[in-house]
Subunit: 504 residues, 4 copies
């Protein structure tokens, strides 16, 4: 499966889309801190850009009672939204950021996060990754209380829920942890949140842990050269991020995951767990398995294991379940490379490249005549003909969604001289919609629903095609888990078994 | 060596830059042709984008006597310059395009090619890749004749030379081939040109063939599905391009190279060779060897061999010259992958990935404090730690220019747990400037001039470092040549032996 | 006083600023209507552009139960925000628009009106001109109810108040008029509102009528040529606007004003008054007198009289109170022209021009040296020297706020040969802040507070200076009123007597 | 006649267009000079913006032998092209600028002036206002010499002619005055030029003086407050501009006109006349009379008289030739105001305003239905109904070109209650094309050619219409001339008598 490229123009929308990346940062020192909070958030968002390319925003604060929040939001890529001047203007020793891909059709500036509201207890900012399974019920409840909602987003919903707690009574009005607990009580999934008020960040993960969230400590510059760091009092600050891949470029070291149902407070004084939702039989952990298969950057770590290793496991498992006798193992660049390499090693055949990728594709024109329409795939991929002519090839891909590019890819390889083209998919067929934050094409558009699995090879013009089994995928994901916490994964898009049912 | 990415903001300028890509297209049919000439050129330029990302332009013509040329030029990437409306407006059955990286410091719209001038014999448009070794002399000559030059570019120079032939006399004034011959007589290198007048394109390659140029035939759409094509009368049109990688996405089939010193005419009636410069002992063919090593897209074909295969040869040759005992062979993504894979196979060690690349890097800020400055490389590359921890690694790269990113890369690998890091470069040290169109940093900036070769491993913090020899590179390049024409390669930047001396 | 020009760059901020213009439109016919609602609103906003140049927005609806609102908002001038495509996309037979000058320091897209929220009773859109005198109290009330406020604007406040009526109970929940009544009860001033829900617009003017609002009927195209129109059933639609100057370019005829404290419903079926707030002794009408003096476009009609005529009255009254023996009466172009001409006629001296205005001023640079700084006024105005050399001049201006341009203007006139320069201001000194929607510089910046009135002539370098008296201004405003409704005007910025006290 | 407004979008093209404004500046001091040359040029161009709004450019130089020229050119208004950074970057103590309205259909960046070329004798920059009557012949001559011309502009033509002097021979090659003389010999009209080389500017006016050009001295800042300036050695620098209206905002005092056929050298050392073309009977002075009637800013001075005064003369003369019995004299804002006021005074009737102008008109949409099309004029002008209802009005305009807006204007006035509407035009009918730089609509589009003069009142729906006579206009223009030099005016567009015949 092809992750959409960095072109700023509309991608040919063929795959799955993650909705969001969240990031928060607090400096331990006083202003002016060694740490540049806004710059750190900006770099963090750049590393989370693969989780959303439509818009981004940063909000910072000086962390004192009466301080104004400073914010900048915009459409497009992080690198184009925030100018040098913005970063300077976004003063503060605490802040949060968000990068977003719209799960709804219409892109609109009014939905750009973080969402900031004034409340009786100060300004509050919220960054959210996920989608609330009972959004309808919650929205109706808020509307009935007379709150007007100005954007359609779940983020505004969560922000208003957080604010709107008439039953709290004035006494614990400023009790933000209490407010967060109530949200956890009212909605099970899915959310990974970073909430900022005056001088604290709260990192919140829903009780089933559907979206990832982890903590990192910002090392002093002196330690970058390798000096050991002794204790937390020496850190420059703390960060929370959707994925640990955000830590490298900001000088942060991975600390730990926020656990399913946990609320972690980050402040000047450090991090501390302030709440852990009680465990329920009905809602065991259910981390989205596609974070491993496709969404996450391969250097991120979930449950103690690096995503890259899991992808290799998938390839290895696939080789066990569906070997094939070929001359060469390859892939469509570039997300499935680890799976393909591991598959090749497992079947003891050479891994080789069959395509070079044009990294400057840009937008497509509505083509004025038929002549060029069928060549679109060749705009993106150049065939390395002399490297595969006359050979039997197996293409390993990580997943297939609509399957629209597989047909011309197989055709291109055969036209250029491949003797056989086999397809192996390192995950099971995607058949069901996601109600928890992943933008999956409609039922009819999913190729696994459109074409019987045993006819897919023919449909793609390939010599054979096999998917990894659900059990195989689960095995690949769990074999390397190195966390003591209870784990579990959501495979609803593969099986239709939803960990929490939506209210519609 | 890292090819600069597709971000639209200023790259960290660490490497070599190719100056230009040229492209021309002529339709065989009458207007309105099956073939969309402007769209074809635009797609061709997208495939040549790696040769220049600063600006681009397209000029088209209806090919009749009194027709206006239509043009659009702009700064930036092809995909952002030409809108759907532009492509529609650029009517015509003949045209040419250009994509450019400035070899001079200042970027300026007045230098954007193709260069179009009105002459006594109609409008003429010129697209040029290369740099004239005797530009000074030629310029002085033109100025002495009283021609004012409005841009500093060699392109304008060639265009005015083409136009300015007072000694031609009126009789053969419109004799464009005659004019081109004179240019060939006046300047030996380097130029790959596409020249358009009324209804013809001329593809011109300098006598030493320093810059590549090849021809393709545009197949009718019907043949895309595999039907054989019988003869040239069935083609939809003809194209000329700097590299054959431009052919795939436009439905063109590789026809042949323009030979060193050859002038090929492309018109409605087809292609024909109209001139071949006489061979001189002093100026044998000298194709820039870095087209193989680094510039060209790996699916392009020169001298009958695919660039990808030559890069594999380089890796294999390097393994012969400089093997090393390691656990894993890897590379810095992504230009040296074929060399690294071939090296791995040759020393019989596994090839594996040590980095994932962030494809959304964007611009860098002038960093306000020291804290983040040393982490810049981690913004671009995420370490796949669990894939290499505790291992001995050899990094194979295709070339080293300034060497500025190698230091933090080695440091990052070691900090993340690599036991040893060895470096092998699949080409010899770059030591000398190029006068023929490649933008090489100054003598002092080239790391091979700054640090003695035997101290480079230390300088980079690596456990060992070795380059490929000049002979090894030559062998790798020549072993697969499948052309009957005489061949030869320019290695001046490696040895200081220039095929033609510049006039300064 | 100089109204800021149409340059898109930041004006030199020397004067008063009106905060907003509101506009609403409903078509009487069914979709597709003869009337283009979005285009009509866009043209209406262009005519209200002088009331706010920072941002604008339009929201339209098909007027049926389940229809989506369509909206477009943007920063800048109306003519640059709405493209042809936007106007086509903004389908609907009902809609409203807003143009805005920020009264707060920071410009931000999140404040751009109309404000749209989802409520239990459908989507609601609100456009607001004015400033709530008890915003603090209202905000605190909303926050206490647990509503988070995402923008600092009074508009959001009013929208949430409208939505948030827990005491309403479910029965009359959809009773929008009831909701509007409650707002009128909770806040006396200042607001001119256009509220849209499903299929109706409500035009609301606060009980003191501080901001203007009037109704117009859209004539069928056939009547444009002069044919009489018989009754309301023949109209194409109805509009509501801050000023009647918006009617000319959309083919609307002035119908009547919305009265202080009145709620008028506009729908497919026509207009009807649905509520009239009971009269209170404490809050008699108090239309902002600066609408007459400066803000309104001179062709607008308030209280039955054209603003232009009132400005002439001011000039005439000023001539009575403060005549002067001069050779020529003039003005600084161009807002005070009617006052100046009337003054000239009244003192029986010729009116003439002393300046031509450069209409292409553009932004100012932060000037690198002192040389050009003192010449800024000459960038804007060219002296018509030969028209006034050797003459005694009186400059009539409509008002003086900071007085920063008057000094160089007098200096320029004298340097170019004016024998005497007298100043007459057709309104009294501005001394107090406005809490009802006008952006007045701080107390210290107002020249009337900075320099004793009797020293102002010296301060400006003029030979004499006189203001119109408060009574004179009131007389000029009331002499031509042709409305039977009770009238009254707010002169708080001149006298400090506020019709309603603010809550801070 | 309505001068096109400052909106950045395409104007409704109804009138005449001046092609260009030129400006040059040289500082007398050494770098860094008190004088900011680039900023001065930028301000000068802002004051010449009415002469061309399509594009602008500035070129500066340090004035030494080997110095690079710095330049910035762009499309749009001066205020939007040059940023603060540009002005800082454009270092130098000599420079020139240009602002341009395209006389040809297509707007193109390659035509933006000043035109800069490298020559044997250094870089040369040229700014040109005018159009060469024998451009065809000159172009053919250059092409025959083998010079390729890259833009279609007369400016490039003049620049290449200046450069291309093969017959000069090397000895006097650097003799720029000699080169300019030759140009004067080769082409009689029309051109006002500013030419820059190394350290000198040349201000050149064609032998018939068709386009205006004048000199100013830049006063030291100290003199701005009124101190007398003693001699030229005290000036900060010298400027040359198309119109003297450019002097006010830069602290320059009007010095004198460049005379027809004169070449003035401006350098560090001051100004000196270096050539005066011999007088010919056949080519007496012929300053474009429409500079007085319409193009020039009213505060500019030609031939010793301020344009504003000439326009008043025209109004007075018109009153003599074509009085009318009315209640009120008015105009369509705002170019004909001086003529209208003078007409009013001459017929002893009050001058009053009938329209207010919307200064925020912006672009027009291609209107989707007929309803709003006929109201376009009301978008631009608001009727001051109460100021004219029941009155007999005469509208004085300066000229009529296509006459397209006059019809709806008269209709609007009558619909709003004007009893009679008479039209008086303060210049004669425009009937012939201009070959010397003014963009006049085609013969058929000129209303004076389309409708017999005696039917024009009917055509416009007016009660009467009269033009000023050619003799009347000449008298109005000459009565105030205060120059000893021979004067004369081109009235070819009114009479068809061209001072120099074009070569086509």
């Amino acid at each position: 499966m092809e992750l959409e490229g960095c072109s700023q123009t509309a991608p040919e929308d063929t795959g799955l889309h993650e909705a969001c990346g969240v990031f928060g940062c607090v400096a331990t020192g006083d202003w002016p801190t060694q740490l540049d909070v806004a710059h750190t958030i900006c770099l963090g968002l750049v590393s989370l850009q693969h989780r959303g390319q439509e818009s981004a925003g940063i909000v910072t604060s000086m962390g004192s009672n009466d301080s104004l929040h400073r914010q900048k939001k915009g459409m497009g890529l992080v690198g184009n939204i925030f100018t040098e001047e913005d970063i300077v203007r976004l003063r503060g020793n605490i802040g949060l950021g968000h990068t977003r891909y719209s799960t709804h059709g219409e892109s609109d500036t009014s939905n750009v996060q973080p969402f900031v509201v004034e409340t009786l207890h100060g300004l509050t900012a919220v960054a959210h990754n996920g989608q609330l399974v009972n959004a309808r019920t919650l929205k109706r409840k808020l509307l009935r209380h007379g709150v007007g909602l100005s954007s359609g987003s779940d983020s505004e919903l969560i922000t208003q829920l957080l604010t709107h707690m008439p039953e709290c009574g004035e006494p614990d009005g400023a009790n933000w942890v209490g407010r967060i607990k109530r949200i956890m009580h009212e909605t099970k999934a899915s959310y990974a949140l970073v909430i900022m008020n005056k001088d604290k960040l709260y990192a919140v993960r829903d009780p089933i842990g559907n979206r990832p969230l982890c903590l990192g400590k910002l090392l002093p510059a002196a330690t970058f050269s390798g000096k050991k760091i002794l204790d937390d009092s020496e850190v420059d600050g703390w960060v929370v991020a959707s994925e640990s891949c955000a830590f490298g470029s900001i000088g942060a070291r991975y600390y730990r995951e926020v656990l399913p149902g946990e609320v972690v407070e980050l402040s000047k004084k450090g991090v501390r767990s302030v709440y852990m939702a009680p465990k329920h039989k009905q809602t065991p952990p259910a981390l989205c398995i596609f974070e491993y298969v496709y969404f996450a950057r391969s250097d991120s770590v979930f449950e103690g294991q690096m995503v890259y290793m899991v992808r290799q496991n998938c390839g290895r498992q696939l080789a066990k379940e569906a070997p094939v006798d070929v001359d060469m193992v390859s892939t469509v660049p570039e997300s499935a490379t680890p799976a393909a390499m591991a598959y090749a090693a497992a079947i003891n055949r050479p891994y080789g490249e069959v395509f070079t990728k044009n990294r400057y594709v840009g937008r497509s024109f509505i083509q004025p005549n038929m002549r060029l329409r069928q060549l679109a795939v060749a705009k993106k991929f150049g065939a390395l003909t002399q490297n595969f002519i006359g050979k039997r090839i197996v293409l390993v891909d990580d997943s297939i969604v609509r399957g629209v590019t597989m047909i011309p890819i197989v055709k291109l390889l055969k036209a250029e001289g491949a003797k056989e083209v086999h397809i192996r998919i390192a995950s099971p067929p995607i058949k069901y919609p996601c109600y928890m934050g992943i933008n999956i094409p409609t039922h009819q558009e999913l190729v696994a629903n459109k074409v019987p699995i045993d006819q897919l090879a023919d449909y793609f013009g390939a010599d054979s095609l096999q998917y990894l089994s659900v059990e195989g995928l689960k095995a690949a994901v769990t074999e390397g888990i190195k966390t003591e916490a209870e784990s579990g994964h959501c495979v609803a898009c593969l099986t239709g078994d939803y960990p929490v049912e939506p209210d519609w």
